[in-house]
Subunit: 234 residues, 2 copies
């Protein structure tokens, strides 16, 4: 039976054998939710980049540029990190270059994996189905918040472990912790998350609708994969 | 209100401002349980050291020496890491030099804290009472397993956060995660832990009695503190 493990923060990734694994990157609020949503709604490709200045340089190459720092849209950028911006008709057929606080960095640190997929509640079931078909060991990499673990990414990790039980064996304690956490609060994810430090921060930015959307399972049944430097659906 | 945070692995400790905090070191299976138990049963002081060879040199200075690697006692040492060895009449009034896989290292990384206390289920309530009296921000540092998070240390962190609710404010998401985990399984800690990777390993070493003991709250109402290089009760 293939194994599944959870890396609760990119700061722990050196403890895992990334090259032997298919990695699922998770940044629920909101990078991987945006990526999933955008590609499901007609964005052609998403290019994650490491910093704002690099991102800015893609504007002249025809990309839309998207960026947030500490949950707020960056001045001069086409988009921030609301998934609703990624669904706008103006994004159809376009490429988007994006940099985010935590998600892009989790992705950078996972390069070298057998395959890199993007996970979010929006594509939970199709990601699980893809992983079952791939028959490889899996590592779920939570983006966290500035290196620390966060609730929403841990909850998604737990949801995916729960979805895959029977098909994968848990490698270590982190998958069990995430799974228990998820099964305990799955009936009231949004209520539970209200207590989280990240959502407390976001609350000040008036994005309840984003949060509600990002916690809804299976609205966007696509699996973004990394091809070269870009995320696409195949 | 003072703050409480949880560092789920020593590999994350650089993300926390250790000098501004009272740190509680946690290594339930079994370093901090042994320390608590030994000092409660008449051990004079416990000297945590970084490695086996350093530990060995204390033998000639009149210390009992205790060490395990991967859950097994080291050859030539007086004690392994069963808490029952620390309660033996032969340890009364003696000093014990100890090195363990994870616990000692968590402690080394926490040096510089305002105060370092040793936490375990065995002294849960008295540690909580001491923290309330100290009126300082608190960081619970879980020893984990070779850098990864583990269930038993996370559960203790959750138990301590739960015990302190109302008196401390959670700083970030890790305390909430640990608290939810603990309150979900507190009625059946031992059964839940049976699924953990660490206990799976320990099962092979026939130490069910150790585990049961280490999960029992408040058997040893003492608070070990670090004074210089040694742990003592005052």
């Amino acid at each position: 039976m293939n194994k599944i493990d959870v890396c609760l923060s990119p700061e722990l990734i050196h403890l895992y054998d990334v090259p032997s694994r298919v990695v699922v990157i998770v940044d629920i609020l909101r990078a991987t939710s945006c990526m999933t949503s955008g590609l499901a709604h007609g964005v052609e490709a998403i290019l994650p980049v490491a910093d704002l200045e690099t991102c800015r340089t893609y504007k002249s190459q025809g990309y839309l540029i998207a960026g947030e720092r500490n949950g707020e849209k960056v001045e001069g950028f086409d988009m921030g990190n609301s998934p609703f911006e990624y669904m706008a008709p103006t994004t159809k057929g376009k490429k988007v270059a994006v940099t985010t606080t935590n998600g892009t960095q989790a992705l950078e640190k996972s390069r070298g994996a057998k395959e890199i997929l993007i996970g979010s509640f929006l594509n939970l079931s199709v990601v699980a189905e893809r992983l079952v078909k791939m028959k490889e060991d899996v590592l779920i990499v939570c983006a966290g918040w500035k290196g620390k673990v966060n609730l929403e990414d841990s909850l998604f990790a737990g949801a995916l472990v729960e979805k895959l039980k029977g098909a994968f064996a848990s490698d270590c304690d982190a998958p069990l912790m995430a799974q228990t956490l998820y099964t305990t609060v799955e009936g009231n994810l949004e209520g539970y998350l209200r207590a989280s430090s990240h959502v407390q921060r976001l609350k000040r930015l008036h994005i309840h609708e984003d949060i509600k959307y990002c916690l809804t399972p299976d609205l966007c049944p696509v699996v973004p994969v990394l091809r070269g430097h870009e995320l696409v659906i195949e």
